[in-house]
Amino acid sequence: MSHHASRAGESSVTDAREQWGTRLGFLLAAVGSAVGLGNIWRFPYVAWENGGGAFFVPYLFALFTAGIPLLVLEYSLGHRFRGSAPLSLRRLHRRAEWIGWWQVTVCFVIASYYAVVIAWAAAYAWFSLDTRWGGDTEAFFFDEYLAVTEAGTFGGFRPGVLIPLLLVWLVTLMVLVGGVRRGIERANRVLIPLLVGMFLVIVLRAVTLEGAAIGLEALFRPDWASIGDASVWIAAYGQVFFSLSIGFAIMITYASYLPRHGDLTGNAFIAGFSNASFELLAGIGVFAAIGFLATSSQVGVDEVARDGIGLAFVVFPEIISLLPGPSGLYGFLFFGSLVLAGISSLISVTQTYVAALQDKFLLSRRTAAILAGGGTAAVSLVYATGGGINTLDVVDRFINGFGVAAVALVEVVVVAWLVRELQALRGHANAVSDLWLGRWWSIALAGVTPVVLGWMTIDNLRTESTAPYAGYALDFLAVAGWGVALSAFVVGLLLAWAPWPPQVSLARTPAAVAPVPRPPAHRPVRRGDDGRTR
């Protein structure tokens, strides 16, 4: 009896799973998730620092041996098991669910501070119009805009951060409440073409600036000897890995909304190369602009090249101030691009736990989105204070090192070596894809990826235990660094402990993965006796 009740309930739950409207919609969302702030402010510097033009060799190798294989793995997990990360991994194996929850809690932490960086970019898009930062861009950002207080203190809210932060969350929540097709897909259909268009304008302007060739020379001049350096290879794997949004639930969640014939492998290649393409474009634009700054300031490229927050909020404002012509407009386009790239990624990160809450606690999309998004927005207020940037810096460092990298390592090791499901997942990918996946995929995931991720995790452990990160106080690092990373793991375990409602099938092949009827558009339209179209 209970069995029948469960089947009936399961049907109603799983059949109602949302679906992307089109393949392009999914691809734009997947690319929107992958293309984020890291493409613009991390790739150019990492490439320049690790061999310049020679960096393409380890980078492309990493893309083929870790990036695209991991994308296919996560697409296959989500598509095969039709659920959020915790549900998909629970269906894969009853002892694998906690990995999904750990991924989801990592996403929660990341979303909480990522939204704040988008808020800074939004404020700077506004400041660009009258180049409000003046002559000393560093002093403006740290002392005036953020009015930074000591690490570990709050120092009161900063309205210049708080107001755009609330707007960022309002937009994100509206998109998430709209659902997969009418919210996420529709938003990305606007965000991604707009981002590419705006960024192309910036790149075209940058490469025509005086001194652009000096910057491009610095970026592309190959240092072939660097290929023999192991750290360059790790940097390449790290860039591909962090840039593609892999290893932390996003791609599993997005792929769970694909139709039955999802062409997983083809989508993974397109998404992987789209992300790399945007990174390359960003590299050209950023280093051409840096070459212009170096020429204008009559210094070497190495004296002005920076990455991360320093590049975006200190170096770029300086470049914008020096631009001939309508500099405010280019500033607006640059910071606007950061906002668009950031929002599309933030939506995907937040969607992972919206979907997980929907699956496990049978919440409606609206309730899950408001609870999850509202909860993250509340936590993100911590970073809108005077001490926020210090907390953000430490949380980002530790959650990436001991959240994202560690959980991805665990995921790959469990799937490849403990539950040994690679073969089955490859079979699934090949059954629904247009491109054929060979044995190289299993070798890359079972061999190369765990070795590289394992090395990265051990290296992170060694680095953080040798000296306090960036000279922060140990008690601050213990709370904001180790404490947050460990809490994500513990909360993940606790959420996995909660029982699933009986309506949710935990079988490996739930009703949702059975063949689905063809879409109504392919059926002959027939009118019933009541005159309505069936």
Partner: protein, 42 residues
């Protein structure tokens, strides 16, 4: 720019943007092995 820098820039562009173009073209061709015609249409 030096010849070496121009060469790696062009090769890098060809590899990455070419890779994207080939991925799109390959999947557009619906070259799935042994797929029944009905599936190819999707």
């Amino acid at each position: 720019m030096s010849t070496a820098a121009i060469t790696t820039m062009v090769v890098g562009m060809l590899a990455i943007w070419g890779g994207l173009t080939i991925s799109v073209l390959l999947t557009m061709r619906r070259s799935r092995r042994g797929a029944p015609p009905r599936d190819r249409r999707r």
